[in-house]
Amino acid sequence: MSESANNKPVVLVIEDEAQIRRLLRVCLERNDYQVVEASTGEAGIDGAIQHQPDLIMLDLGLPDLDGLSVLKRIREWSKVPILILSVRGREEDKINALDSGANDYITKPFSTGELLARLRVVRRYGLPRADVETFTSGNLTVDLATRTVKMKGRIVRLTATEYSLLALFVQHAGKVLTHGQILREIWNSQEVDKTGPLRVYMGYLREKLETDPAKPQLLVTEPGVGYRLVLHD
């Protein structure tokens, strides 16, 4: 990765709206990122080659190429983390992008806090993976070596399926997982609309891990897309 001279991570913003680019630049530079802009898909692909960014933010609605093909073309040769910018009501586009190698998405209009959190998570996936044995988020602790799950220090018993599901989330902590991705990993199923077992097991996990299962803080629903294990300090 090409961290620039001053060691700030480089973000390539591929977005056709000048005002959004400007706002993103102000907001990202204030938070110690360096910003490179591209206003079209072609320019974005060139920028990805030329600047070797640490992160790409890609708008799905571009004037020349559609965002999905830009994503696929970058993914042909690069594993750079990509965050999709999308709008509400385009859940199918988001799923397609995630299944085509995007790391996460954020729905416009978004708050700066949300954006920075998303960027932090996504950026981690571009860095060399440190072999963590213990995962912690809020009250939850998962020891991957001993397969032990604790809430507030007390051991929680999970069934084999519940544990594999949780382990999958831990592996992708902070990142959205689509229904299809989870079904393929855990149930080895290609039928992405047969979300029944997944919904049921998410219910069980929330019962066991959430302080208030009606207001999940750890395992949150991304409506129409999938689930996310949220990182808490």
Binding site: I20, V26, C27, S111, G196, R199, T221
Partner: protein
């Protein structure tokens, strides 16, 4: 020859020959059989009288040729019967008056007998031949007339630009071809009929009865037909695919009966008219579909551009206001902080409004196809409640959610909007501090989601229209988009479900959404 020339030639000559044909036919029709026999008698008598003058000069044998000439000429005008009569009479007249011995039927010589016999045969054969040629001519002429009439009809009908013109041309062509007043009659409602385009064509009494007969049986009726022939007009059905079928009306000027030939022509006219009407209707349908497709394309373009064009500034405002709020510098006065909060709230509302407008247009254009998968109702309720948390912050929310709800096949995102719209509607229309009750339950084959409030309820006159777009109940507070409930209805129906609004006996309104249950395995069953 250029196309224009061809056009002018056909336009000039064909109608002219058409009128000739009509004129000739009128002349023929006036000659009744009695008139023809009288003509034959008169011709023979005339020649006989004249022969008294010239026979002394030329001799009896030349007179025979004069008689023969008269018979042949007569054959050009009259039918076969009168010709036979003329042939026989002229033979007798010649033999009696001019062949010696005169005033005597007896024949003196064998050659005279031969002459009379041969004269008779020659007159007969000539008469026959001429009559046959004439009949053939007549047939040709009638075929030509038939073809020309049909040609004119199809040509005129194909040139009609719209339904009104088409009917006008149908009427004109009928009047010309049948020498009649014509009308294009449509049945309006409960056995009433109306003549389109032709004004003075009364449809009363027997004519009305004839029309009823045509409408009921699909067979011709009226004058010159087998049914209700005391009517003034003749009525003929058009076998088009239009229902009820239109009817052709003819008030013929002729007094003698409607010939088989005319009947055939009328039948052919009716078929051509039916084809033209159907073609016209198909054109209209195609045009309508084209316009519809075009407007759908336009609305899609508009939607796409609106979703992009409006959401971008909203995103910018929200991001900018959010950044300001996030900075939270102590230098911001409470007033400035309040203003930032106002901007954020208004942006939020505008964003919801744009979202609702887009969804409503999507519904309108039939572009909403639920992506069904098995969903957990509890999860749906939690997500909807979390999303409306801010709007419901001044209300008490009570959620009744049985643990044993089945998984339901639905589109999570659409149903989430159903619930959030119902919840924000309740929050908007009820005073702060009151309770909103959200309840989910499953009956044998239905999932029931209800949102009840303890507000003022819905005015009775608004109950039926509460799901209409932009309907606002009287005294309703401002702030809603006027679209939320119509989206609820649209999305519920897209799932094959329904939504109903009612007032609760104890006060307040209740909205109930019903969805058909397609999968019946409950959470408990899935565990096993």
């Amino acid at each position: 020859m250029t196309e224009a020339e061809i056009k002018s030639v056909t336009a000039g000559t064909v109608p002219a020959s058409g009128t000739q044909v009509t004129a000739h036919r009128r002349q023929m029709q006036r000659q009744s059989p009695l008139y023809q026999y009288a003509l034959a008698l008169a011709a023979v008598a005339g020649v006989t009288l004249a022969a008294f003058l010239f026979t002394p000069l030329v001799g009896a044998h030349a007179t025979a040729l004069v008689f023969l000439l008269a018979v042949v000429l007569l054959a050009l005008i009259v039918e076969r019967g009168p010709i036979l009569l003329a042939a026989a009479l002229s033979a007798l007249s010649w033999e009696y008056f001019f062949l010696p011995p005169v005033f005597d039927f007896r024949l003196q010589h064998f050659e005279d007998a031969m002459l009379v016999g041969m004269y008779f045969v020659v007159a007969l054969v000539l008469g026959q031949l001429t009559a046959r040629i004439r009949a053939q001519q007549e047939l040709e002429r009638s075929r030509e007339e038939h073809a020309t009439g049909l040609y004119l009809l199809t040509r005129e009908l194909s040139q009609a630009a719209n339904s009104e013109q088409l009917i006008e041309k149908i009427v004109q062509q009928l009047e010309q071809a049948f020498n009649a007043r014509a009308a294009f009659i449509v049945s309006t409602q409960d056995n009433r009929f109306q003549s389109r385009w032709t004004v003075d064509f009364p449809l009363l009494g027997a004519d009305h009865e004839a029309l009823l007969w045509v409408a009921r049986t699909g067979l011709p009726a009226g004058r010159f037909s087998e049914h209700v022939n005391e009517a003034v007009g003749l009525y003929y059905p058009i076998a088009s695919s239009e229902r009820p079928r239109p009817i052709l009306g003819l008030r013929l000027r002729q007094t003698h009966s409607f010939s088989a030939r005319q009947r055939n022509l009328l039948e052919a006219f009716s078929q051509q008219i039916a084809l033209a009407l159907d073609r016209n209707r198909l054109n209209q349908v195609a045009e309508k579909a084209r316009v519809l497709a075009e407007s759908e394309r336009m609305s899609k373009t508009l939607l796409d551009s609106m979703s992009h064009e409006m959401r971008t500034p909203i995103a910018a405002i929200r991001s900018a206001a959010g950044n300001l709020a996030a900075v939270a510098e102590p230098s911001f006065s409470p007033f400035q902080q309040q203003m930032i909060a106002e901007i954020e709230e208004a942006t939020e509302r505008l964003n919801r409004l744009v979202g609702n407008v887009l969804e409503a247009s999507r519904l309108e254009s039939g572009n909403v196809r639920p992506r069904l998968n098995d969903c957990d109702v509890a999860e749906l309720v939690h997500v909807a409640v979390a999303e409306t948390e801010k709007q419901l912050s001044h209300h008490k929310l009570s959620v009744a959610l049985p643990r044993s709800l089945p998984l339901v096949r639905m589109d999570f995102v659409l149903m989430q909007q159903v619930l959030t719209n119902l919840l924000s509607n309740a929050a908007l229309h009820t005073p702060p501090g009151t309770t909103i009750e959200l309840c989910a339950k499953a009956e044998t084959d239905t999932l029931i989601l209800s949102v009840a409030d303890s507000g003022p309820g819905i005015p009775p006159e608004s109950l039926a229209r509460v799901f209409d777009k932009f309907h606002r109940a009287r005294n309703a507070p401002t702030g809603g988009t006027g679209l939320g409930l119509s989206l609820v209805k649209g999305f519920a129906e897209a799932h094959g479900g329904s939504v109903a609004a009612a007032n609760r006996p104890g006060g307040g309104a209740i909205f109930t959404v019903r969805l058909p249950l397609q999968t019946n395995h409950s959470l408990a069953a899935a565990e096993a």
